[in-house]
Symmetry: C2
Subunit: 289 residues, 2 copies
């Protein structure tokens, strides 16, 4: 293991190890925490990696503790990588004033507006810097050619958009209760207005999963995508998620392979995430193994 | 459902429902929170119940969120009942001064010393009052003739002692990192000294799993018991748990059916509990189904 990461904890769980890591990021100009679950199979051979992007307010700890991905990842032989949701400690004015903007709410984009653009470069961090660092440090355990991505809520937005923006980077994508059309919902309007500027609608569209389907994909093209949304999810019901808009774009574009499931009564919490974690691991495993 | 319980939340998870309940307890003279997981099978027929007793500082929420008993309980068709770890709000002097005594640390005994004996009657609460209330309120969903018990740390002590003190009440017992010989460890000495009095050693022995094996069981008798302990558990290594003393009592008494497993590297946390939750559900299911 290279020395780019500090290992803060090594925890035995589900037959493998959960590593709590920290490193310095050039993309965000801050230290970044990241968790890595190594399944038992990683002792014998290189394993593929499923990246889990967390939602608003979360750190790498929440899903590591409550998401239940490790049970299925252990059986399938997948590593799970949990990046943080934003830079922390950048000390920008207003950074901690909202739970849905700034710290804990990086939206997996590269900010272009002041004062955010110096630190809030989560897209570069997640798609370039972190993979390079983690596949360098764990070259003996992780197979950098087999990577999939998933996420929850804001992290579901991140998974969908980073997949669509980076053809070939990930073998599959899935999302739990994702923000599907941020340009059209209050969370997205606030975040994109802040990180890009209120008038920069072309940049908004460039990081909006629904718009990206229309802009990037063609009829008959395959999008290996599983989405679960709970019908008891208060944010779904408040129209923050808008999965129907994403489905409409998929249908009107003629894209194939997308499955969107509406799960009766489930809410937005980790009780929902953990209930379907196995399905999302198995979805990724179909493309990774 | 009878009106003895107030339902604070109903959460869809793993195909079933987690109910966050509250009721007034005569045993503790306080309101008591309790969680109940109902598997999907409980819609069609009465299901057996596995009681999970939590460890020091915990509420019914910790294991409900991080223990992942629901994944296996859903498949097996078991309900899981999570009592709290002590009365709360009794407002006794010193009740909140320690994390290992008083609030969050009731040790599943009936206190006999002042000022604790008015409220700290968790043994009566868990073995009499709560079952009567829950099987009354959920008479159409729960089978009161099929109950097993398990727990973690202080709750493992509770599971082992309540099983041994109440022949016929539970069909099986298991424990994760249990306090096995509280009379001989700092946690137990503090708790029993407080709840019973420093000199009341016969009462100490009457709530000590290792002593109960010697006092209650005979050679050849069957104790349907599974115990897991992590070798990286700091409390195990500090000799708070003393599973070897329990094993010695089992061996010297000639009791059969006890399996104690030492799990390499695992710690005392929910990362450990969740890793073996399925095994403990399946252990109970062998006797309940």
């Amino acid at each position: 293991m290279a020395s780019t990461f500090e290992t803060k904890a090594t925890i035995a769980t589900f037959g493998g190890k959960l590593l709590k890591l920290s490193h310095k990021s050039n993309a965000t100009q801050t230290p970044m925490d990241v968790n890595l679950y190594l399944p038992p199979a990683s002792n014998d051979r290189k394993v593929p990696v499923l990246i889990f992007l967390s939602g608003l307010t979360c750190t790498p700890q929440n899903c590591s503790e409550k998401g239940f991905f490790h049970a299925a990842a252990s059986k399938a032989g997948l590593a799970v990588l949990y990046p943080d949701t934003s830079p922390r400690g950048a000390d920008l004015p207003g950074e901690k004033d909202s739970w849905d903007f700034g710290e804990g709410a990086g939206f997996y984009v590269n900010a272009t507006a002041e004062p955010w653009k110096k630190h809030y470069n989560m897209e570069t961090y997640v798609t370039r810097e972190l993979p390079e660092a983690i596949f360098g440090a764990f070259a003996d355990k992780l197979d950098k050619t087999r990577v999939s991505i998933t996420g929850h809520s804001m992290g579901g937005h991140g998974a969908l958009t980073l997949f669509l923006k980076n053809p070939g980077m990930y073998r599959s994508v899935s999302a739990l209760a994702p923000i599907c059309n941020p340009s059209q919902c209050p969370w997205g309007e606030k975040a994109f207005g802040g990180y890009f500027g209120a008038g920069e609608k072309s940049q908004w569209a460039g990081s909006d999963a629904t718009e990206l389907v229309r802009a990037k994909l063609k009829s008959g093209e395959k999008l290996p995508c599983l989405i679960d949304v709970g019908t008891g999810d208060n944010f779904y019901n408040q129209k923050q998620l808008l999965p129907e808009n994403f489905e409409r774009a998929v249908k009107e574009t003629g894209v194939e392979g997308v499955e969107v499931r509406y799960q009766p009564d489930y809410d937005h919490s980790y009780f929902f995430i953990s209930s379907f974690a196995e399905d999302h691991v198995q979805h990724a495993a179909k493309y990774l193994l």
